[in-house]
Amino acid sequence: MADTRLADLAARRWKVQVVLTVAMIALYFGFILLIAYDKPLLARLIAPGLSLGILLGALVIVASWLLTLVYVRWANTHYDAGLDGLRK
C-alpha cells in the first residue's frame, strides 16, 4: 500500500522534473540557437537602447529563476504533503 503510494508520488515528481528540465533546456538552447542563426532578429531595437537580444538575455535569467520558483512551489505543497502522508 505505502509502496504504491510512494511509486505514485515518485512518478508525479518525475513528470515535474522532466517537464521543468526540458523547459530549461529549450529556453537556454533556444536563445543560443537564435544567436547562432538569426542575428538580425536579435539586433532589432524594441525601444531606444534596448535590443531584442539584450531583452531575451535578461529574460533567460529571470525565467530560469522563475522555473526554480515553480518547482519549489510545487514541491512545498504537493510533494511535501505526499511525503508527510507516507511518513505517517
Binding site: 508520488l9 518525475w14 528540465t21 539584450i54 529563476w65 518547482y71
Partner: protein, 517 residues
C-alpha cells in the same frame, strides 16, 4: 571621460585602502575560523558543518562558491569590450542552477553523506565506484584550482603590485588555515562573507553607474550604442559556430550539477527540503548578480572605454576595478580589489575542502580502510589531505605561472558534465545501473574529455600555437556527455546485475524519504 582616458590609473600601485580592506577580510575570516575550529570535532562537522547551516545561509554560500573572480572580472570585462557577446556568458553561467534543483539537490542530500560518490556507491560496489568518482572529483577540482590560482596570482600582482609567487603563497596559506582548522563551518562563513561583499560591491557599482544615466539601463545601453555603434547591442562574432556554442552550453548547464564543491554544500543543511530551498535562494542571488554584470559591463564601456580597459590588461579583466576607480576614486578601487581577492580565496577554500573529502572520505576511509577507520583517524586523514591539496594548489599555481589557463574552467565544467553528472543521474534514476556501467561512464567521461580537449583548438591552436586541431569543438561536452551516458547504459545492460537492481528499491525509497526511511 576624456580626462580619465588620459589620466593614469592607480591600478598596480600599492593601494592602502585595498590593503586595509584586505587585512580586515583576513582578520574577520580568521576570527570566524577560530570560532569554527572550536566546534569542529567530528568528520560530520569537518565535511558538513554538523548539518547546521540554514537554507538562507546555504543559498548565500552556494552563490559565494559559484561566483568566482572569473565571472565578476571576466564577464564585466567581456561586456565592456564586446557588448552583447559578453552577455551570452552572463546567461550561460546561470542556467545550470535550475538543473541542480530539479534533478540533483534533494536526492543527493537524502542518499549521501559527504561526497557525490556516496550517492553513486550507495547500492553498487564501493571500491571501484569510489575510486572512479574520486578520480573525476580530483580532476575537476585540480583544473578549477589551477585556473583560480593562476588567475589569483596575476590579479593580485596587477592590483596590489606584489609578486606573483608571494600572492599565490598568501592565498594558499589563508585557504589552508580556513579549511584545516575551521572545516566546512569556516568555509561556509567565508563564502557568506565573500558573497555579501561581492554582491554589495557589484550592486553599489551598478547603482553608481545608473545614477549617471537617469536610473535607466536603457539610457545606458543607448549611450553605449551612440558611442560605439549599434553593434554592441547585438550578437557579434562570438557565436559564429553554433556547435561550439551548444557544446559550451551543455558543459555549463550540466557541469554545474557535477561540480564537487557545489554538491558538497547540500550536505551542510538539515534535510532535503532545506537543500531545495537553498538552491532557490542561490539561483535568485546568482541571477541578480549576472543581471548586474549587464550594467557594470556597459557602464565600463561608456564611462571608461574599451581602449583604456584593454591598455591596462589586454583581456579586459580590469574593467570592473577601473569602473570603480572612475566612480569612487582610489578608495572604491581598493574596496573592489579587496573583494576580488576575497572572492578567489573563498572559491579555492571550497575547492580544497571538496578535494580533501574525495581523498580522505572516498579513497582512504572507503577504499583503503573499507569503512573501518574510527572517527579520530578519519578527521586526521581529512586534515592531512587538506594540507596536501593546499600545497599542491600552490605548487600548481606557481608551475602554471604565465600560462594560458583560461580554458581550464571550461575543462573543469566539461569533466563535471561528462564524468560526474551522468553517473549521478543514472544512479539516482535508473534501476538497472550497475557497478561496471557506473565505472565506465565516470572513467570514459573524464578520460574522453581530457583527450578531446587536448586535441581541440583550445589547446592545439591557442596554447600550443599549432595551425590546426584534430578535433573541431573548443569544448568537448557535446560529444563526451552523451558518450558517457551511452557507455554507462550499454555496459549496464551487458552486465545486468539483479542484486544491484534490487538495491534500487531502497534507493527509490530513501531518495524521497531520507536516510531514516
Amino acid at each position: 571621460m576624456v580626462l580619465l582616458q588620459e589620466a593614469t590609473t592607480r591600478i598596480g600601485e600599492p593601494n592602502r585602502v585595498a590593503m586595509g580592506f584586505f587585512f580586515l577580510f583576513i582578520a574577520t575570516t580568521l576570527g570566524i575560523t577560530w570560532w569554527a575550529a572550536r566546534k569542529t570535532r567530528t568528520t560530520e562537522h569537518f565535511y558538513a558543518a554538523g548539518r547546521s547551516i540554514t537554507p538562507g545561509q546555504n543559498g548565500i554560500a552556494l552563490a559565494g562558491d559559484y561566483m568566482s573572480a572569473a565571472s565578476f572580472l571576466g564577464i564585466a570585462g567581456l561586456v565592456s569590450t564586446t557588448g552583447f557577446d559578453g552577455l551570452i556568458y552572463s546567461t550561460g553561467w546561470l542556467v545550470g542552477w535550475p538543473v541542480v534543483l530539479f534533478l540533483i539537490a534533494e536526492p543527493l542530500r537524502n542518499l549521501g553523506k559527504y561526497t557525490f560518490a556516496d550517492v553513486v556507491a550507495v547500492r553498487l560496489r564501493q571500491t571501484p565506484v569510489r575510486i572512479a568518482a574520486a578520480a573525476g572529483t580530483l580532476a575537476t577540482v585540480s583544473f578549477y584550482l589551477i585556473a583560480q590560482m593562476v588567475g589569483a596570482g596575476g590579479l593580485i600582482r596587477l592590483m596590489f603590485g606584489i609578486p606573483y609567487e608571494t600572492a599565490i603563497v598568501a592565498v594558499g596559506v589563508a585557504m589552508i588555515a580556513y579549511v584545516l582548522f575551521g572545516g566546512m563551518l569556516a568555509t561556509t562563513w567565508v563564502q557568506i562573507v565573500k558573497a555579501v561583499l561581492l554582491l554589495s560591491g557589484a550592486a553599489l557599482l551598478a547603482v553608481l553607474v545608473l545614477s549617471r544615466f537617469g536610473w535607466s539601463p536603457m539610457a545606458l545601453f543607448a549611450a553605449a550604442a551612440d558611442k560605439y555603434g549599434a553593434g554592441v547591442l547585438s550578437p557579434g562574432r562570438l557565436v559564429s559556430r553554433p556547435l561550439d556554442a551548444v557544446s559550451l552550453g551543455l558543459a555549463l548547464m550540466f557541469g554545474t550539477a557535477g561540480l564537487p564543491h557545489i554538491l558538497m554544500r547540500f550536505y551542510t543543511v538539515p534535510d532535503a527540503k532545506a537543500a531545495r530551498t537553498s538552491v532557490f535562494y542561490a539561483t535568485g542571488l546568482i541571477g541578480s548578480f549576472y543581471l548586474m554584470t549587464f550594467i557594470l559591463g556597459f557602464g565600463a564601456m561608456v564611462l571608461v572605454g574599451p581602449d583604456t580597459i584593454r591598455s591596462v590588461e589586454p583581456g579586459g579583466n580590469m574593467a570592473a576595478p577601473l569602473l570603480a576607480e572612475f566612480l569612487g576614486g582610489t578608495p572604491f578601487l581598493g574596496f573592489i580589489a579587496a573583494v576580488a581577492f576575497a572572492t578567489i580565496l573563498a572559491v579555492v577554500a571550497g575547492l580544497t575542502l571538496s578535494g580533501a573529502a574525495a581523498l580522505s572520505h572516498d579513497l582512504w576511509v572507503g577504499v583503503v580502510r573499507k569503512d573501518r577507520a574510527d572517527a579520530a583517524e578519519q578527521l586526521k586523514v581529512a586534515r592531512i589531505a587538506t594540507v596536501g591539496l593546499g600545497v599542491l594548489g600552490v605548487l600548481l599555481g606557481i608551475t602554471f605561472k604565465g600560462q594560458n589557463v583560461a580554458f581550464m574552467v571550461g575543462l573543469a565544467f566539461a569533466i563535471a558534465a561528462s564524468g560526474n553528472f551522468p553517473a549521478l543521474v543514472l544512479s539516482i534514476f535508473w534501476r538497472r545501473y550497475t557497478t561496471a556501467g557506473a565505472v565506465t561512464s565516470m572513467v570514459l567521461g573524464t578520460v574522453s574529455t581530457l583527450v578531446l580537449i587536448y586535441l581541440s583548438p583550445t589547446l592545439q591552436v591557442d596554447v600550443l600555437k599549432h595551425e590546426t586541431a584534430w578535433f573541431p569543438l573548443r569544448n568537448p561536452a557535446l560529444v563526451t556527455m552523451p558518450l558517457s551516458f551511452l557507455a554507462g547504459i550499454v555496459v549496464s545492460l551487458l552486465t545486468a546485475n539483479p542484486e544491484e537492481a534490487q538495491g534500487f528499491d531502497g534507493v527509490a525509497r530513501r531518495m524521497h524519504l531520507g536516510p531514516s526511511a
